[in-house]
Point group: C2
Chain length 328, copies 2
């Protein structure tokens, strides 16, 4: 199977949202008047972001999901994406499964494949995604990292830490009951980008980002960009580990330090962390209901720089949790 057959068979579909899709030198997008285009790229590398034996359908899902998660963090509505794919060989079963997982998520978000590249090489998936953000009265409605203000509440969506729990179990670093591992593994391999929540938070949240490297590390980007600090309640954060609510959970199954590590510095969560003033608490809950996405208030933005952790009694913790860094 040649390069062009491969594209034709697994990736070419008629363009519906773009003016021109796959098949020319460039794709052509018609931007909606009064919008800005939000753009993000993520590259997934074998043995770095996924195991070589991962189910290709879940890999197709995840490759797009991590990009949609960036659009969500900006409050952008998904529009289209490009896919560049380096493959060791043209394996038809692999391509069929990969493209089915990819398009299932793409179709769920009305996000259209408009172009890309295929080449031979070590397995590498690079997706660039495009979304639209309205501009109202000359002001972009995009959610940025730089808008957090002292006194704002800090929220996260969904659950935290289960992806890391699964990764540790798959690496043999801890043992989980099978049902619990299966649940955690779904979080690792098929994250849910919080696209509807991101859009619902436009005009409500003051700052937002998506959690890919771990809560503490990622939250630092908001603090740095906004010139503020924060205090987080770790007892609330611990409750966000979905595994703890599972029927197969037994207290003591996982040391509490490991639970904290997963929740605070786990990575691969693809939840949104965002800030909003206390006056917007009802609006935040309305956005959560409207998008059918739970959100939890886990802390507060403060004038004093730095990130502080407290327990249920408000006592400072001193634990060090570093976030994931690809070159550290």
């Amino acid at each position: 199977m040649g390069e062009f057959d491969l594209i034709e068979r697994y990736f070419k579909r008629p363009a519906t949202r773009a003016a021109l899709g796959v098949g020319d030198d460039c794709a052509l997008l018609r931007p909606t008047p009064g919008t800005q285009l939000a753009i993000s790229s993520d590259m997934l590398v074998e043995n770095r972001h996924f195991f070589a034996d991962v189910d290709p359908a879940t890999l197709g899902h995840k490759a797009l999901a991590v990009n949609l998660s960036d659009l969500a963090a900006c409050g952008a509505a998904p529009l289209a994406f490009t896919l560049a794919l380096a493959l060791p060989r043209a394996d038809e079963a692999w391509l069929a499964a990969f493209s089915s997982g990819l398009f299932a998520l793409a179709d769920a978000h009305g996000c259209e494949l408009i172009g890309g590249d295929t080449t031979q090489g070590p397995l590498n998936i690079c997706i660039t995604v495009f979304g639209e953000v309205p501009v109202l009265n000359g002001k972009s409605q995009a959610l940025l990292r730089s808008g957090a203000r002292p006194g704002d509440d800090v929220y996260v969506s969904g659950t935290l830490g289960d992806a890391r729990l699964a990764l540790d179990a798959l690496r043999g670093a801890l043992t989980l009951p099978p049902a619990l591992l299966a649940q955690a593994r779904r979080r690792l391999e098929q994250p849910t980008p919080r696209v509807a929540l991101g859009q619902a938070l436009r005009g409500v949240a003051t700052a937002a980002l998506d959690l890919s490297d771990g809560l503490l590390g990622d939250l630092q980007h908001i603090l740095k960009a906004s010139g503020v600090g924060a205090t987080l309640d770790t007892s609330v954060a611990l409750g966000l580990l979905a595994a703890r609510r599972h029927a197969d959970w037994a207290p003591g199954l996982i040391p509490v330090e490991k639970q904290l590590e997963c929740v605070l510095a786990g990575g691969d969560d693809y939840e949104l962390a965002f800030t909003a003033p206390p006056s917007a608490r009802d609006a935040v809950q309305a956005a959560a209901r409207q998008s059918a996405t739970p959100v939890t208030r886990i802390g507060r933005i403060e004038l004093e720089p730095g990130l502080r952790l407290v327990d249920a009694q408000g006592q400072r913790l001193s634990g060090q949790f570093s976030s994931f860094d690809h070159f550290a």
Copy 2:
């Protein structure tokens, strides 16, 4: 050096054309009213698209050049790009050289880096580039592959085949005098995207594409998309091998079959192939002058499907030259 230091040190510059550049979850582009956005992605893989010991500055140039070439083929004006980079390790000397080559070409075209990704992995460079094409009276001015009509002339810009000549010499398949190799190697490693010509051909050319896999194979895309055929004059095409005009050239230095192979099926040329009606010959030459880019008429579009080669006397050649296919 961590991931964020690496981005900060080598790739982050203030946004001038984008509403928001490197550093948030998404970049934000403000499309110019009355334009379409042209988008293209290319992925370069070590040992596939470049040798491991290539000068990183020329690699930075080429990685962007092959993407700008796609914009040129669409008649788009460059605007911005994203860069996703998988690196075996954070090598500062390599990064400094790579980013200098990349930004030199980017700056020459006013094309701004607005985001991307860095990760550890086998060396892989994925660039997605954005350009603008005007829409006049509701009609896109983009140059597509599908507009060639019987009777149109077929043109190519610049020179053809020298990149392949250099590749063959570097692989040891043929021997070139040092000055000739150096000249050919510049074509392989530092191609010139024909951005100004592409824009000058808007409203003049009926179809266009950029030559990356070889003239014959790439031209088939125009023929297929336009539902036409073509005849090319190989004696004219042979004259496009720049090496033949070099002072170090000796007739017989390279077998004529190898010359033909380089010119017709060499690949890595990054010249434009385009079609225009005979009535537009003056306009084509004006576009060439305006963009300071030589163009040569090498054939004609015909109703009869297929691609035919003739010699200076108009006699049909029967040689088979297949184009480059990444999975063939």
